[in-house]
Each structure stands twice: as structure tokens, then as C-alpha cells.
């Protein structure tokens, strides 16, 4: 592990420990600094990897980006959030310290997942994200938060149980090639893929897709997701949707790379397309009938994870690169949308869409950023998601799966209708006089501004370093010409 990795892992861990000890008025700026510093270290590491230096492969580096984007902004956002959400007394102070410590700990376990190079270690890290997230979700103490936390830890743990079956079966499948006692590294599996037991690899991939697919929010294992995203604290929703889903996608991709090399691409592609289409279908229609603004964003996460899976299913280099870029774009747009929605929900004191009108009038910056993030999520140019969806669909129409691509296009229109309907309902018009006008907070706006730069920037152009990473990572996953 390099010194840089030490910082990437150590900063959030140290911030978590410190937040438990120091009073929250110190822990708040500390968390903000830890978030920004970690993001900076990740960017350096990613840049190094794109120049083939450092000790990560392109796929690991790529999946560090969501952590940089979301944790970098969460620190700034939480600086305002913890004060707005808690009373100014001893109980409130306990809430603030616990929340900040858990948030930093959450970032720590999230960043470990793409850094671990062996299979069981990554499973443990992913399970740790479940545990920390469940603690964060129940923190607000309402019955709904408790229910969401309970469902989340139970369903996600059961899903991860199947994921562990995948880890065990894969280990057994490698015993002939690697001996009975070996260290289960990703790279050794891929190198010796042709010598692994093919039936074992197939079985492992199926279990990985179902098990880790539960964590990724793929239908029909998605039922925990709207509850946890809706009932949890806003920064937690952003980190769950922006990072944990992509961490789970990362693990599935590692399994897919092994299965691809051992079995050829067909099996993997068909399964990705199957679950992807189902997720997109479920999400598109649930999006049309939401009444809670954060649950709407949660269903949009299921939609986008479906698109990512379909991109991997198409298998062409352009589609795979598009799907990887989509993961990064989704992290940026979704976390921005959650942040802005959280500001609106706090101002209007409700998450009900019916109770929020004219938010651009009441919160000129947050409201506008919400519109931008939501339009990005709906797939409109000039935002990043438009670019990655275009890449996936272009490749899809040029592949044998063009019917799937056509179907995806129809479902995207349905999802678009759902999102724009709720966005217009909540943002357009005049805010009621009873609602306070003006932003009254700087740091959350700065955090959201940084997120917006990514959302817009990746739509205008993809930096050269990122292009190299996308190309390298596509080769690692294995693509079909």
C-alpha cells in the first residue's frame, strides 16, 4: 500500500475517530476538511493510474471516483445539515457527534471496497458498509427510519450471504489451478481464468449477481432501497446512492471479468441484460407515482443501476465505457439531487412532493441546482448522464441486442416523464409566504457547486485521463467487438 493509499483510507478513518472525541463544532469543519482532502488524494491516485503509475488497476481507480465526488461534498454539506437537523441541547450534540463519526466511518468502508485486491476482503468491506449504513439510517429515530434500517440490514445481509456463497464457490473453482491453499486475489483468478472450473465460475457469477445485485439495488432485489434512501438522513442517502451502489457494481464487475475470461461473454451479457431491463422497467413505472421527493430519487437510482447493467450486457467497448462513465455521472448527479432535495425538505419541513411548491423562489440556488440535477438524471443534455446514456444506446443499436436498446429508449422516456413531472411540481411557481426565502448557508452551497461542476463538466467533455481509464477498465472487464 502506497503512502497515498494510506491517506485515502486513513483520513476518513481518523476523522471518524476524532468526531467521537471532539465536540461537534470542531468535528464539523474536520469532516469537511477530511472529505476535501480525501477527494484530492483520490484524484491524484486516479491521475497516476491513468498514467500507468501507482499500484491500482484502472477499474479500482475508476470506482474511487464516486467516493471523491460524494464524500468531498458530503463533508461541506453535513456542516450545515447536522445543525439544521438537531436541537441545540445535549441530545442534539450526541446526534451530531454520532452522525459525523458514522458518516466518516461510512466513507472509510466505502473507499476500502475498490482498494482491496482479494475477494473475501472486499466482501467483508461491503458487509461493513451495510452495518454502518443501517446505523446511520436509524439515527433520526422515527418509526419510519427504524423500519428502513431494519429492512436494509436484514435484506442486504441476506443478499450478501448469497454473495459469500459466490466467494466460496469461486475459491473452490480455483483449487485445481491454484492449489488448495491460496490467496484469492482478483488478478490471479483472471490470469488463470481458463484453468478454473467453468461450472464453478458460472455458479459463482450467478450468486454474485443476485447477492451483490441486492446491494446494487437491481430488481427484483431492490425492495430495501426506496425505504433506506427515503427515510435516512440526506447525506446518508447521497452516500448510499452515490457510492454504495457503485461499490456493489464494482464487485459484480470483478466477478463478471473472471466469468467473461473463463466462459466467454455470452452468459454474462444475457444475465446483465435480464436484470438491467427488469430494474429499468420497475423503476420507470414507480417513478410515475411517487409522492415523496427522496423516494422518487431512490427509484431513479434503481433506474440508473439498470442502465449500467444493460451497458455491461451490450458488451461492446463503447457500451462498457459508457456504463462505467455512467456510474461516475450517476454518483455526481444523484448526490447533488439528494443534497438539494434535502435543503428543500428542511425548508418546507416535509418530503411530500405535494407540500413543496416554488422551491426555486424560496431557495434560489438549491432549487436551481435541484432542477439541473433532476434534468441530468432524466437524461437531458448538456449534462454528463446524457453523454453516457448516448454511448450505451449507440453501442446497443449497433449490437445484436438492438431490440433491447429500443426497449430501453422507451423506458427512458417513461422515466423522463416521471422525473420532469415531479420536478416541475416542486420547483416552478411562487413559494408560499409562510416559507422563509433565501439560502442562509454557504458551505452546503459550495459543496453542491462542486458537485454541479462534475455533473456539467462531464457532459461538456471527458478529461483525457478519464478517457484513458475508461478504455483501460473496459479491457480489464473484457468486451466483445
Amino acid at each position: 500500500m502506497s503512502i497515498l493509499d494510506g491517506f485515502i483510507v486513513g483520513l476518513p478513518a481518523a476523522a471518524a475517530a476524532a468526531s467521537l472525541i471532539v465536540p461537534s463544532r470542531l468535528a464539523r469543519p474536520l469532516t469537511a476538511c477530511a472529505g476535501l482532502a480525501t477527494a484530492a488524494c483520490i484524484l491524484v491516485a486516479v491521475f497516476q493510474t491513468s498514467h500507468h503509475r501507482g499500484d491500482h488497476d484502472a477499474l479500482s481507480a475508476l470506482f474511487l471516483l464516486p467516493v471523491a465526488i460524494v464524500y468531498g461534498a458530503v463533508g461541506l454539506y453535513a456542516h450545515w445539515y447536522v445543525v439544521a437537523e438537531s436541537p441545540d441541547d445535549a441530545a442534539g450534540e450526541t446526534f451530531r457527534r454520532e452522525f459525523l463519526a458514522l458518516t466518516n466511518a461510512f466513507a472509510f468502508v466505502e473507499v476500502v471496497v475498490p482498494l482491496v485486491t482479494n475477494v473475501p476482503g472486499m466482501w467483508v468491506a461491503l458487509e461493513a458498509t451495510t452495518i454502518v449504513a443501517a446505523l446511520l439510517v436509524r439515527l433520526q429515530g422515527t418509526p419510519a427510519a427504524l423500519e428502513a434500517a431494519w429492512k436494509y440490514i436484514l435484506i442486504a445481509s441476506c443478499g450478501l450471504a448469497l454473495g459469500l456463497v459466490a466467494v466460496i464457490v469461486l475459491y473452490a473453482a480455483g483449487e485445481r489451478a491454484l492449489g488448495t491453499h491460496y490467496s484469492p486475489e482478483w488478478s490471479s483468478y483472471v490470469h488463470l481464468a481458463r484453468q478454473l472450473n467453468p461450472d464453478g465460475v458460472r455458479l459463482a457469477f450467478i450468486f454474485a449477481l443476485i447477492g451483490f445485485g441486492t446491494k446494487m439495488g437491481l430488481a427484483p432485489m431492490h425492495t430495501w432501497l426506496p425505504d433506506a434512501h427515503g427515510a435516512g438522513p440526506t447525506p446518508t442517502s447521497a452516500m448510499l446512492s452515490g457510492v454504495v451502489l457503485s461499490d456493489a457494481a464494482y464487485v459484480i464487475l470483478r466477478f463478471a471479468a473472471i466469468a467473461d475470461a473463463a466462459l466467454g461473454p455470452t452468459v454474462v451479457q444475457r444475465m446483465f441484460i435480464g436484470v438491467g431491463l427488469l430494474s429499468l422497467f420497475v423503476a420507470a413505472f414507480f417513478l410515475l407515482q411517487q409522492s415523496d421527493i427522496k423516494r422518487m430519487l431512490a427509484y431513479s437510482s434503481i433506474e440508473h443501476m439498470g442502465i449500467v447493467a444493460i451497458g455491461f450486457g451490450f458488451g461492446a467497448p463503447l457500451a462498457v465505457a459508457g456504463a462505467l462513465l455512467h456510474v461516475v455521472n450517476h454518483s455526481a448527479s444523484k448526490s447533488l439531487a439528494f443534497f438539494a432535495a434535502g435543503r428543500m425538505a428542511a425548508r418546507y419541513e416535509t418530503r411530500e412532493i405535494a407540500g413543496i411548491t416554488g422551491s426555486v423562489d424560496a431557495l434560489p440556488i438549491s432549487g436551481t441546482l435541484f432542477v439541473a440535477a433532476a434534468l441530468s438524471l432524466a437524461g437531458l443534455p448538456p449534462f454528463g448522464i446524457f453523454r453516457s446514456e448516448l454511448m450505451i444506446l449507440t453501442a446497443g443499436f449497433g449490437s445484436p441486442f438492438w431490440i433491447v436498446a429500443a426497449f430501453v429508449l422507451v423506458l427512458l422516456v417513461v422515466a423522463f416523464a416521471g422525473i420532469t413531472r415531479w420536478v416541475t411540481a416542486t420547483t416552478v411557481g411562487d413559494a408560499p409566504m409562510s416559507v422563509e426565502h433565501g439560502e442562509h448557508a454557504v458551505l452546503p452551497i459550495v459543496g453542491m457547486g462542486l458537485g454541479f461542476c462534475v455533473v456539467l463538466g462531464l457532459g461538456i467533455g471527458v478529461p483525457l485521463a478519464l478517457q484513458t481509464l475508461l478504455a483501460d477498465a473496459s479491457v480489464l472487464i473484457g468486451t466483445t467487438p
Binding site: V124, L135, R138, A148, I153, S157, I168, N197, L203
Partner: protein, 221 residues
């Protein structure tokens, strides 16, 4: 004809015992009994770890067997007993699916798991002793069934723990070479998960004075 070796015979006997305990979970509706069943199942899992450890001459598995015994046969059951003291000890069951029906369902699931594992196109002698995979899957899936059919927080925790027992059985029998540190991490992970579950159970109990998760029915759609 293939003669069973001693570890194979032990693994076979213990798989049957594990499956019977898993079925008994659905039969019993008293929390204390469920906790005892979990302790018994954990004892079998510790035994198999010990047996495989001795035959493979792997001190790691023997250490894990001792740790498993300490954590899952003694500490966790005692802890759960304390937790269950404040709450109603009977587990309610949904009206539509009574005990007999749930046992039939579980038997069907087990049958399917065993047939599926047998029908998988795995070349014999190459890897995965098939009966062990079948047992692992059967325990995991019946564990899911228990979690679904018993709307009681502690019963669901026990279901999760038995699923984990099934996974541990799978790890020991199918991949005994998996590094020691992995086994330890798994064990720690279970302990932390149980603590989190316990935190949630406590809040639930303080709010509702029962551990029924029936009250957790608001979030829909």
C-alpha cells in the same frame, strides 16, 4: 465403489443434523427454544470445523472451531437470552401460513436446493463435494424462509445467524484452504452485525413494547 472417508462421513452426519435443526426453527414458536436451537446448530458447525481441522492438519480451522464455540454456542445465545427477557417470548405467526404449511414449504425448498445442487453440471471429483453445496444452499434458503415467515425481530436475527452458520459450514467443507484471516473477519462481522441488530431491537422494544415487526409496515410503494 467409493468408500466414505472419516471426514466425509462426519460431514455427512453433521449436514443432516444441521438441516434438521434448521427445520426445527420453523416448528418452534418460543423465543427461548429458537435460541437453544441456534446454539445447538452452532455446536455442530464448530464440530465440523474441528473435524476438518484435525484431518487436514490445519491449526487455523481448529482455532476457528474454538472461537466459534465460544462466540456462537456460549456468548451470542446468552446475549440473546438477555435481550429477549424484556419482550414477549412467543413468536406470532402469520394467519395464512401455519406451522405445518411452513414446514412443508421448507421441505420443498430443501428438496429443490438438493436437487439443484445435484443437477448442476459440475463434474464429480473435480471440485465441490456436491452434498455439501446442497446443504449450504438448503440452510441458506430455509433461513430466508424463517426470516420471511416470522415477523419477530429476534426470530429474524436468529434466521440471519443460522444462514451465517450455513455459510460457515460451506466455507469449512468447500473451501477449507480459505485464509485464516477470512474466517476471523467473518466471525467479527457476525458479532458486529448482531450488535447492530440488537441496537435496533432495543429501540423497537422501547417504542412498541414487543419485538413484533408487524408495526414496521408503513413504507410501501
Amino acid at each position: 465403489m467409493h468408500h466414505l472417508t472419516l471426514p466425509e462421513a462426519i460431514a455427512g452426519t453433521i449436514s443432516v443434523a444441521l438441516l434438521l435443526v434448521q427445520l426445527a426453527l420453523l416448528r418452534s414458536l418460543v423465543l427461548a427454544e429458537l435460541i437453544t436451537l441456534y446454539a445447538v446448530q452452532s455446536l455442530f458447525v464448530a464440530l465440523i470445523s474441528l473435524a476438518v481441522g484435525i484431518t487436514e492438519r490445519s491449526w487455523e480451522l481448529i482455532v476457528l472451531a474454538v472461537l466459534t464455540f465460544g462466540a456462537k454456542v456460549i456468548i451470542l445465545p446468552l446475549y440473546m437470552r438477555r435481550l429477549s427477557r424484556d419482550i414477549s417470548t412467543r413468536v406470532e405467526i402469520p394467519e395464512s401460513i401455519n406451522v405445518t404449511l411452513s414446514l412443508i414449504l421448507a421441505a420443498a425448498i430443501m428438496g429443490t436446493a438438493i436437487l439443484t445442487a445435484g443437477a448442476l453440471p459440475l463434474k464429480t471429483g473435480e471440485f465441490l463435494p456436491q452434498a455439501d453445496l446442497a446443504t449450504t444452499l438448503a440452510i441458506v434458503f430455509v433461513g430466508f424462509l424463517v426470516a420471511i415467515l416470522r415477523p419477530n425481530a429476534l426470530a429474524q436475527v436468529i434466521a440471519f445467524l443460522t444462514i451465517e452458520n450455513g455459510l460457515y459450514f460451506g466455507t469449512v467443507t468447500l473451501a477449507p484452504g480459505l485464509p485464516f484471516v477470512v474466517g476471523i473477519l467473518l466471525l467479527i462481522d457476525v458479532l458486529i452485525a448482531v450488535v447492530v441488530f440488537a441496537v435496533l431491537v432495543r429501540i423497537l422494544v422501547s417504542q412498541e413494547a414487543s419485538a413484533s415487526v408487524d408495526v414496521l409496515q408503513q413504507l410501501k410503494g
